[in-house]
């Protein structure tokens, strides 16, 4: 593909790796990985239990917006404002995710579609608020006022965008990994992800479990939004969370990692490197940075089909069609592949 575009694949590869890992690239790769891993974790927590949420983006935006507005409103509170605005962001993310979950269990509206559609109102509403009523539009960019110093997250490495948020995300990854391995809830989630009917038969209250994992997903998404706002931009800028596709790259990282929390870190770092490298490719060649997105999508397609290669190895050529039953999206959601192996 690269060769047909008239560039040497080797040169592109060098630009990709150097751009991602050299002195300037590495900090950028790491700081970009924070929201990607965070969003990936938010997705993975729900995927693991077979709930296919596409709403991380909207929840992140709401979390980011709410944290900025709270921090500005509580400017007099000093450092206490951080706690309150993070809690508010977490609440906003969880509430939005909870709403979609309620829609599914009370009204039968499939989470896959409702969460996707709910992203748009969240993003547009945030854009409206910061473009007028609660923000300022300067030079075509809508944003809130700058946050008070006390409400900002501390830098981890001076001079980079790495902040305490990176640490928070790693703690969350550890917590999620522990929850899946060592707790009853995690066991139920894994079993439900693998086979919801069996889990229900085995006594899992699937609705209650769904509410728990979706709320957890919303909590993480809201928190990631707050981390970006309080730790990187120090204000909510319209499009700063959606433009770089953090939520979607995170979602693909979760898919690549088969929803394993530690795997999400690795996959998130990898995809983050791919995108930082993509910027260098754009600088040093005529190729656009979206090369990274193309590669990423192709990787996910290969991963999605790995079952076929595996099955073929084991039983030889099994030609029988199983013709998966797609009774409706809510049935199709949570079929094998996203649930993760136990």
């Amino acid at each position: 593909m690269v060769a047909t575009a008239g560039e040497s694949p080797l040169a592109v590869y060098r630009a990709l790796t150097e751009g991602a890992f050299d002195r300037h690239g590495l900090p950028s790769t790491l700081s970009r990985a924070v929201p990607i891993v965070g969003a990936g974790l938010a997705a993975a927590v729900a995927f693991r239990a077979g709930f296919f949420t596409l709403g991380v983006e909207g929840q992140m935006v709401l979390g980011g917006l709410v944290s900025a507005l709270t921090a500005i409103a509580l400017a007099g509170l000093g450092a206490g404002a951080i706690t309150v605005s993070v809690l508010a962001a977490v609440g906003a993310g969880a509430a939005y995710a909870g709403l979609a979950t309620w829609f599914e269990f009370r009204f039968g509206v499939p989470i896959l579609i409702s969460t996707l559609l709910m992203n748009y109102p969240a993003v547009f509403a945030a854009s409206y608020l910061v473009s007028g009523p609660a923000g300022e539009a300067i030079g075509g960019v809508s944003q809130t006022a700058l946050l008070p110093e006390a409400a900002r997250l501390g830098e981890l490495v001076p001079g980079t965008r790495l902040n305490v948020g990176a640490f928070v995300v790693l703690v969350l990854v550890g917590l999620a990994a522990f929850a899946f391995r060592g707790t009853w809830l995690g066991y139920e989630a894994r079993m439900t992800g693998l086979n919801p009917r069996f889990a229900r038969y085995g006594g899992v209250a699937v609705e209650r479990l769904g509410a728990k994992v979706m709320l957890a997903s919303g909590v993480i998404a809201g928190l990631v939004g707050a981390i970006q706002v309080l730790g990187v931009h120090y204000r909510f800028i319209d499009g700063s969370l959606t433009g770089p596709l953090y939520a979607w790259i995170g979602l693909m990282a979760a898919l690549l990692a088969n929803s394993n929390p530690v795997g999400v870190v690795v996959a998130g770092l990898f995809f983050s490197a791919l995108h930082t490298g993509g910027l260098e490719v754009e600088r040093s060649t005529d190729l656009a940075r979206e090369l990274a997105l193309v590669l990423q999508a192709l990787i996910i397609m290969l991963v999605a089909c790995r079952g076929a290669f595996r099955a073929r190895d084991r039983v030889g050529r099994s030609g029988r069609a199983v013709g998966r039953e797609v009774a409706g999206p809510s049935e199709a959601v949570g079929v094998e592949g996203v649930g993760g192996d136990a």
């Binding site: 575009a5 296919f52 596409l54 829609f103 009204f107 039968g108 509206v109 499939p110 896959l112 579609i113 409702s114 996707l116 559609l117 709910m118 748009y120 109102p121 547009f124 509403a125 854009s127 409206y128 473009s131 007028g132 979607w248 979602l251 693909m252 898919l255 005529d286 190729l287 656009a288 979206e290 090369l291 990274a292 997105l293 193309v294 990423q296 999508a297 192709l298 996910i300 397609m301 999605a304 089909c305 079952g307 076929a308 290669f309 099955a311 029988r320 069609a321 199983v322 013709g323 998966r324 039953e325 797609v326 409706g328 999206p329 199709a332 959601v333 079929v335 094998e336 592949g337 996203v338």
Partner: protein
């Protein structure tokens, strides 16, 4: 508000229906053979891009439409082969296909046209508008039915074609058999996976038409990610229309209206962002209505056998 509901809105409603309807017809055929196709968004985007590219280089709108159909069908073949022959997870593959289309169109745009973001050029030939003699001057009917690109009329014809194909043709019987009882169909000698694969390719071709209508029928330009969720709205239209051509047509009319209304209200007293929200919120509300209906029907069916 009342001054918004005028002839322009009627006309643009019928233009906005076509992309949703064409993609939804593709989704409907997939649904009928048991493939849950959420790649409509990406397939449509690939079509919109290829339509502009084809029209720009040949300076011929028809070539543009054909390029769109070919490009979207090729992408659909990739998705279809992975979903049917390789039995990959359809949802994961659908999402990946959408991002492949987004990445590939944004990646190819500067290579082909030397610009990023959006591309418009006088050499892109759009689809002309056809005025139907006799109807054109009629007050309400005129703006509704006349003055559209030929793809709009093709989309209506395809609704009828899909209806006939599904319910009056052996191929349709076979398709429905595969969707409802794949094992039984296999036993009767239908080759399930190849059949599913070709239906997915066909849905890609339909999404190509949908994309061409977006980028050549309504405007003559391509903007990054210009489908903006319409493929997802088409997915909901398939569900809302119960995978039935006439039902899907009705759903597309409804969603097309809200799409047009959202456009129309931009620049009005309502803040732009709220106008832009309208199609998605309307689709979400549509889902609620659909599920509520389904539940009532299920209850009614259960009632006679109950105590």
């Amino acid at each position: 508000m009342p001054d918004v509901l005028d002839a322009t809105l009627l006309n643009s409603t019928f233009r906005m229906i076509a992309p949703i309807l064409l993609a939804a017809l593709g989704g409907l055929l997939c649904e009928r053979v048991g493939v849950f196709n959420i790649a409509l968004e990406g397939l449509m985007l690939a079509g919109a891009f290829a339509a502009v590219a084809g029209s720009f280089f040949s300076e011929n709108a028809i070539v543009g439409v054909l390029t769109a159909v070919a490009a979207a069908a090729v992408l659909a073949a990739l998705f279809g082969a992975a979903a049917t022959f390789l039995q990959g997870n359809m949802i994961v593959l659908g999402i990946a296909t959408n991002f492949l289309a987004l990445g590939a169109t944004s990646f190819t745009m500067p290579l082909l046209f030397g610009v990023k973001g959006n591309f418009s050029d006088p050499r892109i030939h759009g689809l002309g508008k056809i005025a139907i003699p006799g109807i054109d001057g009629v007050p309400v009917l005129g703006p509704m039915l006349s003055g559209h690109s030929w793809l709009v009329y093709v989309s209506w014809a395809l609704v009828v074609a899909a209806q006939v194909l599904l319910f009056r043709h052996p191929l349709g019987l076979r398709a429905r058999g595969i969707g409802e009882r794949p094992d039984a169909a296999e036993t009767l000698g239908v080759r399930v996976r190849p059949f599913q694969f070709w239906v997915v390719v066909l849905s890609g071709a339909l999404c190509g038409l949908a994309g061409a209508q977006l980028s050549l029928g309504q405007v003559t330009l391509f903007v990054e990610n210009m489908t903006a969720g319409r493929g997802w709205i088409a997915v909901v239209a398939v569900m809302f229309g119960r995978a039935h051509p006439l039902g899907v047509f009705g759903a597309s009319v409804l969603f097309g209206f809200f799409d047009a209304l959202g456009f129309r209200l931009q620049g009005s007293r309502l803040p732009n962002q709220f106008a832009q929200m309208i199609p998605y919120v309307a689709t979400l509300v549509g889902l609620f209505v659909f599920e509520a209906q389904r539940r009532t029907r299920a209850r009614r069916l259960r009632a006679p056998t109950g105590p």
